[in-house]
């Protein structure tokens, strides 16, 4: 049987407290939403969730990547291939994107499970991520948040056996985004709830119960996608789900994370699950899909990982609504005219080992590790005697730094470091760190981010971030 072997989640650290939208100071304990910063997008969130998911697993063993989002950074260009490269997965990995649908995350899990069951894939990484934008001032802006979840699907028993699913497809123009429009739009809320979300969700769950001969009470945790807390409650009541069994939809802490919302809840359910628990997850979007899982004994031997609690603990509130708008490209601002001759795709291709996978090289003559890839050893001058080594999952240390107040960013300054990774020196920005906390010797780890948009397209590279050991 196909099973989940591992899971990972990622929530960007920045929060917009909803009080800030009205220009008020953040309200302690008030609702907030997770915000992908200006160097983050669906791809970078997915990579971070993928890193967490693959901890302890041989990356060489992964032979498939399915990436699901409604917010692809590129209209044409695959996200899964970029994610696979950033994760340094084997070249022979099969990659595909399932996009444009809020419920494609469960579809991707189903497809991965079917591939494993059919023997056409051994281990498939499913990454689901979303960074949806609501127009300034809209209800969507208040409710949308950004997050990602990842699952490794393979031959069981793993941590949870993937069971039956039940799907309902429906054509309804309730929530949509047209090509070229940055904002998600919605029809009247009562129409969505009464004709779309509530009846289709109930129908999918009941269909699954009937198909499997189970009752709602047989499930220990039920994770329901929901556009808002009220309709979440409506579906829960209609299905007779008791409070304890209802997974927190994270609407007031992360926000509605779109395609990632149901998978994120499913991952969160695993954090507290015991062997034998039965889980049910529901996704909605042009119909609905429900999936059941049975938690296996493997859940107890899975390496500890950064869960939602860890991400919640390290969150920080954005300095102002204006800074949030700048980060999301919503503010009016005149940056110094960029000399933007474009970026050579040829060079990008040549240097993808360094840039996308953060690979350095180890000299086979003297053992020195260095960055970037070069022909002659910096230490012993041996020529062409190198093996590539992945630096992205190693520990680093700040050698020196500066705080750049000049380059325009939503919240200056930009911290720029020289970071040492096992002897290699890498010039990296340091993110998710207060300027007063940086010092020579600061231990860091690495995150995949947008570095700039030279050439009018997102360019990705790695950044340093303070190392975190605490998994609470």
């Amino acid at each position: 049987m196909a099973a989940l072997l591992s899971y990972g989640v990622y929530v960007p650290p920045t929060r917009l407290n909803l009080a800030q939208i009205g220009g008020r100071p953040p309200r302690d304990g008030g609702p907030e939403k997770a915000v992908a910063w200006n160097d983050e997008d669906s791809v970078t969130l997915a990579v971070s969730a993928g890193v967490s998911c693959l901890a302890g697993f041989d990356r060489e063993s992964v032979d498939g990547v399915l990436f699901t989002t409604t917010t692809q950074p590129f209209q044409e260009k695959q996200g899964a291939a970029l994610i696979a490269r950033a994760l340094d997965l084997p070249r022979s990995v099969r990659t595909a994107d399932l996009t444009g649908s809020l419920r494609a995350g469960l579809g991707a899990l189903r497809a991965a499970a079917d591939s494993v069951a059919a023997g056409s894939a051994r281990r498939v990484l499913v990454v689901v991520s979303d960074c949806r934008m609501g127009a300034p001032g809209s209800a969507q802006e208040r409710s949308f948040g950004d997050a990602a979840a990842a699952f490794l699907v393979g031959e069981g028993p793993g941590i949870a056996t993937l069971g039956e699913s039940f799907s309902v497809s429906d054509e309804i123009v309730d929530v949509w985004r047209t090509a070229g429009d940055p904002f998600v739009h919605a029809w009247e809320e009562r129409f969505i709830v009464q004709e779309g979300y509530v009846p289709r969700s109930v129908e999918a769950v009941r269909g699954l119960l009937e198909k499997t001969g189970t009752a709602i009470g047989d499930f220990h945790k039920i994770a329901l996608y929901a556009p808002d807390a009220r309709s979440h409650g409506t579906v829960a009541r209609a299905l007779g789900i008791e409070g304890e069994r209802l997974q927190d939809p994270l609407l007031a802490s992360v926000g509605n994370s779109g395609a990632a919302a149901a998978p994120l809840q499913l991952a969160a359910a695993h954090e507290a699950a015991l062997p034998g628990d039965r889980l049910l997850v529901l996704a909605y979007g042009d119909g609905a899909e429900a999936l059941e899982l049975r938690v296996e004994a493997g859940i107890e031997s899975l390496d500890p990982r950064r869960g939602l609690g860890w991400h919640h603990a390290r969150r920080r509130t954005v300095s102002s609504y204006a800074a949030y708008q700048k980060a999301r490209g919503l503010g009016t601002t005149e940056y110094p005219a960029a000399e933007d001759p474009g970026l050579s795709a040829t060079i990008h291709h040549r240097e993808r080992d360094e840039d996308v996978s953060l690979k350095g090289q180890q000299c086979q003559a003297c053992g020195a590790i260095q960055f970037p890839v070069q022909r002659v050893c910096e230490s012993c001058f041996a020529k062409d005697r190198f093996e590539l080594v992945r630096l992205s999952d190693r520990a680093g240390k700040v050698v020196t730094y500066t705080l750049d107040f000049f380059f325009p960013t939503p919240e200056p300054p930009t911290i720029v470091t020289i970071t040492d990774v096992d002897g290699a020196r890498v010039h990296l920005q340091l993110v998710d760190c207060k300027p007063e906390d940086v010092h020579p010797g600061l231990p860091v780890e690495f995150v995949f981010r947008r570095i700039h948009s030279v050439g009018g397209r997102p360019n990705y590279y790695w950044k340093a971030t303070p190392a975190a050991e605490d998994l609470s």
Binding site: P336, L343, E354, D355, D404, F407, I418, L428
Partner: protein, 386 residues
């Protein structure tokens, strides 16, 4: 390297320097002509087309190559070469000229350094990003990377940097061709807006346009031009590793300066730079760059800059005046021009023609550039002639 290949073989017989600044109404050719014709007059050259045998020009912003200079000066039917070596470009153009004369390839050579960054419509950050790994950052960010480490080890701080800015602003008020002619206080420097920590606005050199020129000739021919022509004691450039990836960098120094100094002192026969050098023009693209250079050039011990800044060692009245014309701080930094502008200033100082900023009876004058990330250093040493 043959240590004696350069010393006293070549004389600087004429120098020129246009007014540095935001020269909106001047083309590069205008500045080149102003600087070169001043140098011609200084050297007593009346027919440059006949008397100049070859031209070495340095620029990093120009995309027109050596022709820009040749065409401006109408120096045709002779070799014209453009040199590019980051901020050491001017010194390297001078070096190429000196080598060609020392090798007796030419008798008389014109060196022109110039750049026109203000034609680009860019006010501040001027970093063109052409690769994914190019961090959106300014040179201030590159040169600031020694600060956290140096401050921690030697206890220096922003106040020490501020005093360098105050000194150079003052010296700049005494130089007719300088861009900034305004005194500032330590407090002004400390309170200015932050650019890249620890550099506030006043820790940074300005972006300006400028050109400078020198006419050099064989030492034995110098007297036909003028009696007080300084002699070239040493000139070298040095390549170094990119400190952003160099595994051995301690961020307490910029390596190429120390390497270039060792060679330059060997060429010039200088055993104790702190006693033998009388005046110096150092690359103060940022105040910390000047501070590190005091030490890396062997003027003082590593870590001793703080006390020497406090005691005024490098002020006009001090034991070893540095940046007598206000340096890059006051002139700005049109990259190709800077090294040649320093040759101009050192020549005037050695000839006793530096007006209100004249240092008392200097015999040996050093000029220094460091540039790139930084990855290149140039040093030239001139000795009093006549």
């Amino acid at each position: 390297m043959k240590a004696d290949a350069i010393r006293d073989k070549v004389a600087v017989v004429g120098v020129g320097c246009c007014a540095f600044g935001e020269n909106w109404d001047q083309a590069p050719s205008d500045m080149i002509v102003d600087a070169a014709y001043e140098a011609y007059a200084d050297a007593g050259i009346e027919e440059p087309q006949k008397q100049i045998d070859a031209v070495f020009t340095g620029s990093i912003y120009s995309n027109k190559g050596p022709h820009e200079c040749a065409d401006a000066l109408k120096l045709f039917e002779k070799p014209v070469t453009m040199v590019s070596n980051y901020c050491a470009t001017g010194t390297d153009a001078f070096r190429c000229g000196v080598m060609s004369v020392a090798a007796r390839l030419y008798d008389t050579v014109l060196v022109v350094g110039y750049d026109k960054p203000k034609d680009r419509g860019v006010a501040g950050p001027s970093v063109v990003m052409s690769q994914v790994r190019d961090l959106p950052q300014t040179p201030a960010g590159w040169f600031a990377l020694c600060a956290s480490t140096y401050f921690e080890k030697y206890g220096a701080g922003r106040e020490d940097l501020a005093r360098i800015a105050v000194k150079n602003h003052h010296n700049g008020t005494l130089a007719p061709n300088s861009f900034l002619k305004r005194e500032i206080s330590v407090d002004d420097a400390l309170k200015a807006r932050m650019i890249s920590w620890p550099f506030g606005l006043y820790d940074c050199a300005a972006q300006t346009d400028g050109a400078a020129a020198a006419v050099i000739t064989r030492a034995d021919l110098a007297k036909s031009h003028r009696d007080d022509a300084p002699l070239v004691k040493a000139v070298t450039v040095m390549a170094g590793p990119n400190p952003q990836k160099d595994p051995g960098n301690d961020f307490l120094r910029w390596k190429p300066t120390g390497w270039a100094a060792k060679v330059a002192y060997e060429q010039a026969g200088i055993a104790d730079p702190s006693r033998e050098i009388d005046v110096a023009q150092l690359h103060d693209c940022f105040t910390l760059t000047e501070l590190l250079s005091y030490e890396d050039l062997g003027f003082i011990e590593k870590g001793a800059a703080k006390e020497h800044i406090a005691s005024g060692t490098f002020e006009l009245s001090g034991e070893l005046p540095v940046n007598t014309d206000g340096g890059l701080k006051a002139f700005g930094h049109p990259t190709g021009a800077t090294g040649v502008r320093m040759i101009y200033e050192n020549t005037l100082q050695l000839q006793g023609r530096a007006g209100d900023r004249q240092v008392k009876d200097p015999e040996i004058a050093l000029s220094h550039n460091i540039g790139g990330h930084p990855t290149a250093c140039g040093i030239a040493i001139l000795g009093k002639g006549g």
